[in-house]
Symmetry: C2
Subunit: 405 residues, 2 copies
């Protein structure tokens, strides 16, 4: 007998018929002798509808109250599935965040799980119940409802799997698994059968569609095997697991493309100690996340400083940069929004040299100019003009042999 | 500074605009220097929609899970009002049943409040918050969500008013108050300015439209002044309070008419000890509520036994009666469904004789035949043919001078 946590996303519980399909699948796992904890999202579209309702009630809805409102979405699906399973003759019980012991900090809207008291769930499982847990929600020290942010149900599932020491955490979604790249861009994209937590984290852009990044961090921390698979078929999906000695380490496992960044360059920045702090301090205060930072020496005592932010933050970041540029006596500001960041990711990179060379050569062969480069231990990213984005992805996918089994 | 509990029903919070009207009213009370606890129902129609959803999920939805589902309705309105008040610059906080300390028994779907720990609400009030409480819900010893049954938000409001020793519990609804009779039947019906708990309980039929009966029992037990009034205007409604020495005791305060009963008569019941138990035992086991019971001696050793049940229970009650009649050797069974029960109610009845005489005479003057009579200390009820119902109400309303100030 193994213990399986199964998480179903919004499209998998979009209406009564689909919830009924979920019940079929849960039933099957239970009939096979496994203990099952089901973690549910709200019906697809419901969270957005609730947010729209809140914004009718208030221009900037109070975060504590918004969490109380949003939590109704998962409360609805959890109770519906539990009553469905009960009417099929199974022992089943729903648990909301506070009932499941999901204890979080006070950050309404993007709370982090501090610890889990899974006593009630354990008792229910021991009594033979199928446990149906509302995802996305927890409670804080004040006994208030908190929510975990977009995609938070993934984190709920992985966290409860860690707490219960589940054998696997299955994330059922509307795609078959994690692909070597976005199949909408590259027809040759292949499903990855096994991937490490580290690679999955670097493949945030690919992963974001199927798995909340925070859930992967959680899985990595507590070593929870995560199986990303489709709720619409029986096929094996992608196993996200710890890097192991016998894991076949592809040099490059995937290619990602992020079109959501914009570039800001401050020209002729005085090359003095503390100048970086003067630039990035105000951005941090404005809660603007800076992704890449590149500094080129231009001439004696002056540098050009380039960084990227998300398109959402671009206008605010530009305004702040203009103020700072005047203060520190820098030159003009140049910006670009029509850019794309293409990345190749792979654990094998650690032990194989030459990955960068292959990447640059492949892009050059298509006359794609590289504007910025950044690297991590298992990732190389290049910023290019966005009009070349798809071409670059297809070129790199093929250059690293990802189109072949 | 006084402490006011204000309860708003489903039609008063039916959409964002109406919730905004509620916010106006709450704001006004708070600006006047009062502490305010708001108790909300779900948006009109939402509870029915959720029940429909549940019945799609399961033929007979599990009661525990149904409560989890239904509780989302009040959770939604409470969070919306709280965020609206906050965006207007007020300190406000929503509280769900378990957060408000509404401790109930385990009867899912019709739970009874056992006790209330209003510590959190008191603290919030002391901190200057407007407290917004989700009505209709509580929690049991297992930490499960329970609901209090149809109209349960009235009981939530009165109970929290009792616990907090509020100065008044205002029940805002879509009618102006309690009337001397149903204004749709009798154009001369007048709003009652003050009525005792006892009369209100007897006027269940009139009251049911504006006040859950259980809430009146609660108010009576804890001596909570209840003000039933319209959420659509500023007029004073009806005060429901304890009978007091200086209360002007109208002989008759109101006339009610209940069309929802049916009559069953067992003819020639052997007049032996224990025969009543044989008849009413099986009805009680089937959870059928019997209202009136009348026994007429027919002849030596035999009686006719008549009782009334609600129309919903009529068919089942008839079947049971037929079985019992055979067992005890009674005669045929006669039934009537086209009946109405008209009642006159008034505290003054206790000290004035002759009310029955006036009632019977008034009905006789219109040639309305009385089929059954039953009385309580402050009520006289007559069962008549339903085709005379409206005529009887108007006749009695006028006979007791209720059409005059």
């Amino acid at each position: 007998m193994s213990l399986r946590v199964q998480k179903y996303g919004g499209t998998s519980v979009a209406d009564i018929e689909r919830i009924s399909n979920v019940a079929d699948r849960v039933q099957k796992a239970h009939d096979a002798g496994d203990q099952v904890v089901v973690v549910l999202s709200a019906m697809a579209g419901v969270t957005d509808k609730l947010i729209a309702l809140a914004s009718q009630a208030s221009g900037s809805p109070d975060k504590r109250e918004l969490d109380v409102l949003l939590a109704t979405g998962e409360q609805t699906t959890a109770s519906l599935l539990a009553m469905m399973l009960k009417s099929r003759g199974y022992k089943a019980k729903s648990f909301l965040g506070y009932q499941a012991g999901i204890h979080t900090d006070h950050m309404s809207g993007k709370a982090r799980i501090l610890d889990i008291d899974s006593k009630r769930l354990k008792t229910a499982l021991d009594e033979g119940h199928i446990v149906v847990m509302a995802g996305f929600q927890g409670y804080n020290d004040d006994g208030d409802i908190t929510t975990l942010g977009r995609g938070g149900s993934d984190t709920s599932a992985v966290a409860i799997a860690a707490s219960l020491k589940a054998d696997v955490c299955e994330i059922f979604t509307d795609v078959d698994g994690v692909y070597t790249t976005d199949p909408r861009i590259c027809a040759d994209a292949r499903k990855i059968s096994t991937i490490s937590y580290e690679e999955m984290l670097e493949m945030a852009i690919l992963g974001a569609k199927v798995l909340q990044i925070r859930s992967v961090e959680f899985a990595k921390k507590y070593n929870v095997p995560v199986h990303v698979r489709s709720s619409f078929n029986e096929e094996e999906g992608t196993m996200v697991i710890n890097e192991s000695a016998d894991m076949e380490s592809a040099i490059v496992s995937g290619v990602t493309c992020d079109m959501n960044e914009a570039r800001i360059t401050l020209k002729r920045v005085p090359d003095q100690p503390g100048v970086s702090a003067k630039i990035f301090g105000p951005l941090a205060e404005a809660e603007i996340m800076v992704d890449m930072i590149i500094q080129n020496t231009r001439s004696e005592g002056e540098t050009d400083l380039t960084f990227t932010v998300t398109k959402d933050d671009f206008e605010r970041a530009k305004e702040i940069s203009e103020v700072v540029a005047k203060e520190i006596g820098a030159g003009e500001i140049k910006t670009a929004t029509e850019i794309a960041k293409v990345s190749v990711i792979g654990l094998g990179m650690k032990s194989h040299s030459g990955v960068a060379a292959i990447m640059f050569k492949a892009l050059a062969s298509e006359n794609i100019n590289i504007r910025l480069i950044s690297t991590s231990e298992i990732r190389i990213s290049c910023v290019i003009l966005s009009k070349y984005a798809e071409l670059a992805v297809r070129t790199l996918h093929s250059a690293f042999g990802l189109d072949k089994e």
